[in-house]
């Protein structure tokens, strides 16, 4: 307990002098020295703090199961991942699904389809589906964040698989949840959105199914994805809430649903204020058993 007090005091001090990240980075480094890696602790860390950029891809890979918890196996497993990637890449080449000009996210999508057994019978007739657009948006972001095409594929593949298996059931409830918190925070805004028919038409699929891929700049998106990858999809609701509250003045001036939806789909969100706003909202609204300390 006393240790906690000292620690909190120190964190508070670091925060005041602007070195807030220093201690976080150190504690993450300690966690990353453990053998095997403690996934639960890593998730808890990631739920509380943004991952320092230097370690982000490594931590994501572990939390997404691309690399195992035993670091002594990382080399051997990475070798398998590379071979699997090469096999799939070769297959999409052979099937004439891609050329050297094909953008990386599209290459990833075709590889994913082959791996999941989703290639259509006639390869020339292609109808893009909604879930494939979601995959493409996520893969576009991943290919910008990852250093190689190999990492881009594995991160996109495992992010989508993990997200669908963990959160597919919660997704339909997120709009309701957003409405609930909006009623608590900004009742007038909620009523305005309802009256002009915009509430049901908010860009929920971009926000929730794509986890804001393509809607937020990468620098804030990666912080949101830290939380999603470590197991929380509820944060998505608070990011949406923060967006609505941030643009309350503009939205209140618009009376047409089309205008509001178009505005929200195209607006460029300011990353930092948004990030901190959504976390404050997240913290304030969560029951005390959730360990959010931002």
């Amino acid at each position: 307990m006393a240790e906690d007090c000292v620690r909190n005091f120190r964190s508070h001090y670091y925060e005041k002098v602007g070195f807030r990240g220093v201690e976080e980075k150190r504690s993450l480094e300690l966690l990353l020295k453990e053998e095997p890696l403690d996934l639960e602790k890593l998730c808890m860390f990631t739920q509380r703090f943004p991952i320092p950029a230097l370690y982000r891809v490594m931590v994501w890979k572990v939390l997404l199961g691309i690399l195992p918890s035993y670091q002594s196996c990382h080399g051997a497993v990475a070798q398998q991942r590379t071979e699997q990637y090469k096999d799939l890449k070769h297959a999409v080449d052979l099937l004439h699904l891609v050329s050297i000009k094909t953008p990386i996210p599209t290459v990833c999508l075709h590889m994913y389809r082959v791996e999941m057994g989703l290639t259509p019978l006639d390869l020339e007739i292609e109808e893009p589906k909604d879930d494939e657009d979601d995959f493409l948006a996520i893969a576009s972001t991943m290919s910008e964040l990852a250093e190689s095409e190999l990492d881009a594929y594995w991160l996109s593949r495992c992010f989508v698989l993990q997200f669908n298996s963990k959160h597919a059931d919660s997704l339909p409830h997120l709009p309701k949840s957003l409405e609930h918190y909006l009623a608590l925070e900004e009742l007038r805004l909620l009523q305005h959105l309802k009256v002009c028919g915009a509430l049901v038409r908010l860009p929920y699929s971009r926000w929730f199914r794509r986890c804001f891929a393509g809607s937020l700049p990468n620098s804030s998106l990666e912080r949101v994805w830290d939380k999603v990858i470590s197991g929380s999809c509820k944060l998505l609701v608070f990011v949406a809430l923060a967006i609505l509250i941030s643009f309350k003045m503009t939205i209140m001036k618009m009376n047409m649903a089309d205008g509001i939806v178009g505005f929200l789909e195209n607006v460029h969100f300011d990353l930092y204020s948004l990030y901190f706003k959504s976390h404050t909202l997240f913290k304030n609204n969560l029951s005390s058993n959730m360990s959010m300390q931002i």
């Binding site: 095997p36 918890s69 051997a76 398998q80 096999d87 057994g117 290639t119 019978l121 390869l123």
Partner: protein, 59 residues
């Protein structure tokens, strides 16, 4: 120590298994594509024959 060795082995095995499953899917995709190409080839053959028959009838 025994438990550790077992977990390590399982993690490696899982990654090889995943590579194997992916390659299996590659085989399936290639097979389907081959079948599709064969049927296209047959169509082309018929087209060629039809045109050839028409030409010889006209001559």
């Amino acid at each position: 120590l025994l438990e550790t060795a077992k977990i390590q082995a399982r993690e490696q095995l899982k990654s090889v298994e995943s590579k194997y499953q992916a390659q299996k899917r590659v085989v399936q995709a290639l097979e389907r594509h081959l079948l599709d190409l064969y049927s296209k080839l047959d169509n082309r053959k018929e087209q060629v024959q039809a045109v050839a028959a028409r030409v010889s009838r006209d001559e």
